[in-house]
Amino acid sequence: MLEVTSLSKSFDGFKAVNNAGLSVKDGEIVAVIGPNGAGKTTFFNLITGVIRPDSGKVLFKGEDITGLKPYQVCRRGISRSFQVVNVFPRLSVFENVQVSVLSRQKKTWNLFTPSSRLSVDDTEKILENVGLTDIRDATSTALSHGERKVLEIAIALGGNPEFLILDEPTAGMSPEETSRCIDLIKQLKEKLGITILFCEHDMEIVFSISDRIMVMVRGSTIIEGTCNEVRCCQEVQDAYLGGIDVCLM
């Protein structure tokens, strides 16, 4: 579904992403892991068009989407959530998701029908799926951090994506919220058939839900494979764990 080949980007000579590659098949959950500063977020930004790559190619469903603008990438079916909470602070929870749904349904040029009558069912379904129905009228600034992270995902779901990119979905969540969030991610794959690419620091989560893992170090892909392949790869242990000789998990 997604095919990334030799993607590179440097900022003032610093190679943030250097020759990174990845392929994600339909219906998979793929994790990108790597130490802080490995370029995971930049890698996602390159795929979703926030930053233009210096070189390399991004193919989505066989189509070249390299260098498209973010809204164009989104319209092709790729949504993403952010590591740092990135919602619409003055809108209510419902409106946050509704904007996204309206945008996907290409209604944002409609000037005269009241929004309160449009896309309500679709929005409510998403809120129900992620479990935010109870607080749908709260302003997003009034939410807890965990709730905002879930809202973050809900907004991404508003685009009815085939492909979802989650940038550290559980960062800063309590253990309880984390386990709920993991259930949600699993459900998205099983119930809605969404292909998911995510990055995460918590190895327990990574190994429990991913089908495959890509390891990034200093901007480059060092291995892409199943959990077992990655777990026992010496290179990963060297780079990721600083050479401490332990088998992950």
């Binding site: 603008k69 809204y71 003055r90 904007v99």
Partner: protein, 313 residues
């Protein structure tokens, strides 16, 4: 519950409109004039707030559209020899086109840079109008613009202003509540995320700026009706500043905030100017007080006050 709330809201609007409609029955000519000025200034401030409060664009020189709308209407009436009513179509349209052009140049910049470029482009338009004696009348402006009989009397002008303002406000309200308005507010809150959910931010903003220009032009055309004159100071940048202050003072996150702000400023200006020449000083003090004590404006304050009261019960 939402239904009954909506009904009470419309009820208040209707009561308000009836009162406004009856003004000429019990008020002097001067107050009718003042009310008309408040209405059209309020419309101008609301059209600014459409992009400022709801769109998050730093439209710092909105008076240009007000002035250009007024000039276009006046010149159309005066020089074309066509029906004067056509002036009221041409005025707003020219303002909308100008809104589109200035928007096209400014929209790629963000926040303060947008505002700075807007002020410079707007000032350019002001300078042209100010200097082009043969066409615009230069700093003299244009006086005694002939109008159709039905709107040339004070009451006629007032009713015309009231009707056009009400209809324009209604249209602006519908636009804010439409999906377009939702997307616009999304852009205000978070342009980066808006782009990520598939909104073409620049195009969306450009349309909003054009609409704002149009209604700024409507307000300008109404000024021609009420005052029978146009002059270059209508689009001097200090007028734009006053419009921004109206939005902040009344409450830029509420729909009626700017019109409340306009009422306060216009009334104060009228009476304070009679007492002292230091109107700008008074305006500055008001602005300071607003920033310190009413960061969400008068309506924002009332809104919070009402909510507190409801909770206390």
């Amino acid at each position: 519950m939402a239904g009954s709330f909506f009904r009470t809201k419309s009820l208040w609007v209707i009561i308000g409109l009836v009162i406004l409609f009856l003004f000429p029955v019990f008020l002097d000519r001067f107050y009718i004039y003042l009310a008309a000025i408040i209405l059209l200034t309020g419309l101008c401030a609301t059209s600014l707030n459409f992009v400022l409060g709801y769109g998050g664009a730093f439209q710092f020189h909105h008076a240009v559209f007000y002035g250009v709308g007024a000039y276009s209407a006046a010149l159309m009436v005066l020089k074309s020899g066509l029906s004067p009513w056509l002036g009221f179509v041409v005025g707003p349209s020219v303002a909308a086109i100008l809104g589109f052009i200035i928007g096209l140049i400014c929209v790629r910049l963000s926040k303060l840079y947008f505002g700075m470029l807007q002020i410079s482009l707007g000032s350019l338009v002001w300078a042209i109008v100010y200097r082009w004696y043969s066409f615009t009348g230069g700093d003299d402006g244009i006086h005694g613009i002939p109008l159709p009989d039905i709107i040339s009397s004070p009451n006629g002008a007032y009713y015309f202003t009231l009707i056009v303002t009400s209809v324009s406000m209604f249209i602006l309200y519908r636009m804010i509540k439409s999906p377009f308005g939702s997307a616009l507010q999304g852009i205000r809150d978070n342009p980066v995320r808006s782009e990520m959910i598939g909104v073409n931010v620049r195009q969306q903003q450009l349309l909003a700026l054009t609409i704002a220009g149009f209604f700024g032009g409507v307000a300008g055309s109404l000024f021609v009706v009420v005052d029978n004159t146009v002059f270059p100071d209508m689009m001097f940048w200090t007028v734009s500043l006053e419009l921004v202050i109206m939005c902040l003072l009344g409450g830029w996150l509420s729909f009626l905030g700017p019109i409340v702000g306009a009422a306060i400023i216009v009334i104060l200006r009228t009476y304070v100017s009679g007492v002292t020449v230091y109107w700008a000083l008074v305006l500055g003090i008001i602005m300071m007080l607003v920033i310190f004590f009413l960061p969400n404006g008068v309506l924002g304050y009332l809104d919070r006050f009402m909510k507190k009261k409801v909770r206390a019960r």
